[in-house]
């Protein structure tokens, strides 16, 4: 079941969502996608079990302004390596990249985990149990900032 993506308002910002790698955890990603739509974004939901390259393909095709990568199953640390490079190869140099879920194996210190993913080139990483309101708020702020920037 793919989340349908209605136009909401004049030229809405497009976002690609999906769960990366061999990860089947769709629930949070689906709820997040619903929340982003409700917030007025055009959401291209790739669903669970999505290889990294499919995110980039979809982002190019839909001229997306951001990619929301979910990883819950613990192997995100392996799956997300070089994700930013793939974007750059695809010409998406400054596309907004968020990642969230249970990003690593086991209960690890969050600040370290966050740093690992920022180093991989993600703009923001979110800890387990993050609520959608928070994500929507952050995203709004970041796009505001982008527009503001000369």
């Amino acid at each position: 079941m793919a989340v349908n993506t209605p136009e909401s308002g004049p030229r809405p910002i497009t976002l690609v969502t999906g769960v990366i790698g061999a990860d089947t955890h769709i629930v949070g990603n689906r709820i997040l996608s619903m929340a982003l739509e409700a917030a007025g974004y055009k959401v291209v939901a790739l669903g669970a079990l999505t290889p990294a390259d499919e995110f980039i393909k979809a982002a190019i095709e839909t001229a997306a302004a951001g990619i929301m990568v979910s990883s819950l199953y613990g192997q995100g640390e392996l799956d997300c390596r070089g994700f930013r490079d793939l974007c750059i190869e695809g010409g998406l140099d400054d596309i907004v990249l968020y990642v969230g879920g249970n990003l690593v194996v086991g209960k690890q210190d969050w600040s370290e985990v966050e740093q690992r993913f920022l180093d991989m080139g993600f703009d923001r990483a979110f800890p387990p149990g993050t609520r959608t309101q928070e994500v929507v708020a952050m995203l709004g702020a970041d796009f505001q900032a982008q527009l503001a920037a000369p």
Partner: protein
């Protein structure tokens, strides 16, 4: 998708019938050839190994014995990326956790037959000195090496491998000496895959079940088990039980006779007891109707499978209550979680603690039964009233063949799974918690649930919406996904503060 290869060779049309033995030999040969360690599999050597195990290390016998003695056994989950880490884990779960059944969870690359990635994961794990995989890469290590794990413990061992592609992992696992194997074609395909067709998933597990039957033919009764927890996200008992019956019929068709049914807890004492009871009653009824009168189907109750709270203290209550619910419900075993659930794979110690807390909870509640409670009987009736029309329709759509009926029923939405990632089920059914904590159906999609039952669900859910002063809409279902994971100040604040 490359990660989901079609079943080997030209296959006969899908049906619930047993795979012919000589076809099966050919299928096995092709399957074992897919990765070097496949060559290590020698079924007669494996049979000898199983027969040499003391019976208390044979899960088939242990489950029957526990059922006969009215016990509720404890079993955790657990898998790490290297043999050393995995051995340490299993010994800890056995000795420090007092686990009655010791698990080996495979990693997600292995589950998706990405063995090359798994190999890399092993190296990375060794380099990093911590597990980079979320489970044990059993195929990469192969049966010979993996036997060290069986020898390191004094309990029966079970393979946990959530996937629609179990064929090679199963060969390795049984050859290594695992006497239990969790997984089934319908449940796992609908909850762990996106594009895999039900037909492919069912065929893959028919292979696994046929393999178990082959061991049976050679005198080793293995314990097969069905993961009725599905997506773990607010699964109403009737839907879990329907998948149990479907997969049990498919397994019986291949010759399996020792088949456990798992149910994720709803966290409602009465609903869970009713679910455990009716799961067995309805499964035995439908299997008997299809001519399988000697299928042993013990029920396993699973600690809350939805989202957990971040607070360790709150999680302790879920762990303990998980034992209470399993014991009172009369489950033959309980599968445990830990206080780390919301964060990540538990450490061996945290995992062992979850086992001990659960074991104590089981001890404290072992005498309690709700059989005589009118509310219990009401819920039993509701479950039966939901299961029968759907199951009958499925069999009807398959002209008596459950494999065909299931595929067609899912296409039509007659059978549906909540929150499924799979493109071949509609996933329109929407469960939500009512004002009394019962899991009800806000929307049953196209499932033929009787109107009077659905209006009962609606009435109960409207009562909750009214109580909470929220609209009666599908946000009830979303809120129910979060509910148990909420922090206490949101879940039950001090009522009267200024």
């Amino acid at each position: 998708m490359a990660v989901f290869p079609p079943p080997d060779g030209a296959a006969p049309p899908l049906s619930a019938a047993a795979i012919a033995w000589d076809d099966f030999d050919a299928m096995r040969a092709a399957n074992l050839a897919r990765w070097p360690t496949g060559a290590e599999v020698d079924i007669d050597d494996a049979v000898a190994f199983h027969k040499a195990l003391p019976r208390h290390k044979q899960l088939g016998w242990v489950m029957r014995q526990a059922d006969a003695e009215g016990r509720c056994l404890t079993q955790p989950r657990g898998g790490f990326g290297t043999l050393e880490l995995q051995k340490e884990l299993m010994v800890c779960l056995d000795k420090e956790g007092h686990a009655d059944i010791v698990p080996t969870t495979t990693d997600s690359y292995t589950r998706n037959e990405q063995w090359a990635n798994a190999a890399q994961g092993i190296e990375e794990s060794i380099k990093a000195g911590r597990s980079m995989l979320n489970g044990y890469p059993m195929v990469n290590y192969g049966p010979k090496v993996t036997r060290q794990l069986i020898e390191a413990i004094d309990k029966p061992a079970i393979v946990l491998s959530g996937t629609a592609m179990p064929r090679l992992t199963a060969e390795i696992g049984f050859a290594a000496g695992y006497s239990g194997y969790l997984g089934s074609g319908f449940a796992y395909t609908t909850s762990y895959t996106k594009q895999t067709t039900l037909e492919d998933g069912i065929r893959n597990y028919q292979y696994l079940d046929r393999l178990a039957a082959l061991y049976q033919e050679k005198g080793v009764e293995l314990h097969r088990r069905q993961p009725g927890f599905l997506t773990g996200t607010n699964i109403p008992p009737s839907i879990a039980i329907l998948t149990g019956i479907i997969d049990a019929l498919l397994a019986a068709g291949q010759g399996v006779r020792n088949y456990g049914l798992e149910l994720g807890q709803t966290l409602h004492l009465v609903q869970d007891a009713a679910a455990i009871r009716m799961c067995r009653v309805l499964a035995e009824d439908y299997l008997a109707r299809q001519g399988f009168r000697d299928m042993f189907m013990p029920v396993t109750s699973l600690h809350w499978m939805g989202a957990w709270p971040q607070d360790v203290a709150q999680s302790q209550a879920l762990v303990a209550y998980g034992g209470t619910l399993a014991a009172i419900g009369g489950a033959v075993s309980v599968t445990t979680k830990s206080t780390h659930e919301a964060f990540g794979l538990p450490t061996p110690q945290a995992n062992a603690e979850g086992l001990r807390t659960t074991r104590m909870a089981v001890y404290l509640a072992r005498h309690i039964r709700l059989d005589e409670m009118p509310e219990f009987k009401r819920e039993c009736d509701i479950i039966a009233a939901e299961v029968r029309p759907v199951m009958d329709k499925i069999l009807e759509m398959g002209d008596g063949d459950v494999a065909l009926g299931t595929v067609r029923a899912c296409e039509a939405g007659i059978m549906d799974i909540p929150w499924s990632p799979n493109n071949h089920v509609k996933s329109r059914v929407m469960p939500a918690r009512d004002a009394d904590g019962y899991l009800r159906m806000y929307d049953c999609g196209d499932m033929p649930i009787p109107a009077d039952v659905m209006s009962f669900h609606e009435e109960r859910l409207r009562e909750r919406a009214a109580k909470e002063g929220v609209p009666y809409d599908h946000d009830l279902a979303v809120a129910s996904v979060y509910e148990i994971s909420e922090a206490l100040d949101k879940l039950s604040p001090f009522p009267w503060a200024a």
